[in-house]
Amino acid sequence: MSNNLPAELRYTRSHEWVRRNPDGTVTVGITDHAQHALGDIVFAETPEAGRVMAAGDACAVVESVKAASDVYSPVAGTVVAGNPALTDAPEKINTDPYGEGWLWQLTPADPAAVDALLDAAGYERVLAESAE
């Protein structure tokens, strides 16, 4: 199975992706692999603006028909916004995980922490290991 992993993104072992925006904020979502594993997503709860989170905090919930899954913050920072479109259309996480299915945007406490995350090749190795 070929993995859909945009090269410009950073990744985590818990299957989040991070996009660095020109304004210094970052956008967070779940990977194509994660949405596929969860199945049809029918509910998403995203964090509110202003929330301060540490790296590894559970800050969003994505629920498929079958089960609920936490989504963890890849880095420490302050939430700028949750994705309002997911309230009525959580299935965007399935159909466009790296685009319209983004979960939240935050201002990282330490921009260097983003660079320390996995690159696409590193995340691909994580997926290969877990498939073994």
């Binding site: 049809d40 029918v42 509910f43 629920e63 028909v65 079958k66 609920a68």
Partner: protein, 364 residues
Amino acid sequence: MTQQTPLYAQHVALGARVVDFGGWDMPLHYGSQLDEHHAVRRDAGVFDVSHMRAVDVAGPGATPFLRHLLANDVQRLQHPGKALYSCMLNEQGGVLDDLIVYYRGPGRYRVVVNAGTAAKDLVWIRARAAAFDVEVVERADLAMVAVQGPTARDRTVGLFDAAGRAAALALEPFFAAEWGGEAGMFVARTGYTGEDGFEIMLPAGEVVAFWRRLLAAGVRPCGLGARDTLRLEAGMNLYGNDMDETTTPLESGLAWTVALGAPRDFIGRAALEAQQRAGLSRKLVGLLLDERGILRAHQTVYSPAGEGQTTSGTYSPTLERSIALARVPAATGGEVEVDIRGKRLRARVVRPPFVRHGKSVIVP
């Protein structure tokens, strides 16, 4: 070690996500659980239910034996082919399993039990059968598929021979027809989805060809995921979730399946009558979530009458909101709150089913 049904290779070839269910490798879905759910509500879907076990009970003592073994009364089955839903209880009135029993003719019955409980059930049934002139035969040679949905019967009858087609088309709901003898076809107008359709038993060696013909006839393969959302919308209990050995049918929304009218000594009767005399403290109800979120099993329910717990919960694809079954204090009604991941959300008590024949039937 998990077991596999004769259709396992078909599931894999269709790209199914396979999960362990009651010790069996079963398809959870074939790509989209939601699409499979809607296919059954709007058109037709087929489920491999070969993990369930048919058990034939026959002999001069078959009727008295089943009248002793089951909480519902097989004496109600006067016409060959008629089906009856029943619980099988322990002496304490706890539910050992829920099952369907088909009347095949004088002294001949077929019982279909759940996969996860089949081994335990057979030990129980054989031990109680010893005192009766009856033979208990496990039919592991049979496979089983459920074809469900508004077009299910139309799409399926064309696969039968002329005589079978006529018999299947003539079936009333909750009746079965069989042809071709013990290694033939057994077709029942029953199901676990709240839609019309058939449950079909046939020799394991023939089920792959039959499955392929169903798919060729436009019937969509559906997994256990859709089966669960469909049965929950239909307000049907899942054994092990909504009831078990620690709950009675009276506490499980199944009083209608307990036949106390005739003077009949069935296992668990004394315990149920004692519970009735004492008054029920708990009941099983439907819940409809009034806020955004998804109800799941084992969430705490708060009401002025006391606390309860959800036993099954899901997103309802037909209603596009969350529904659940919950065991709550007997006086519970109206508005309640459910603890979902640390937040209390508002829900309403409703009478199941939630959906019948593709439409909402919620009565507050």
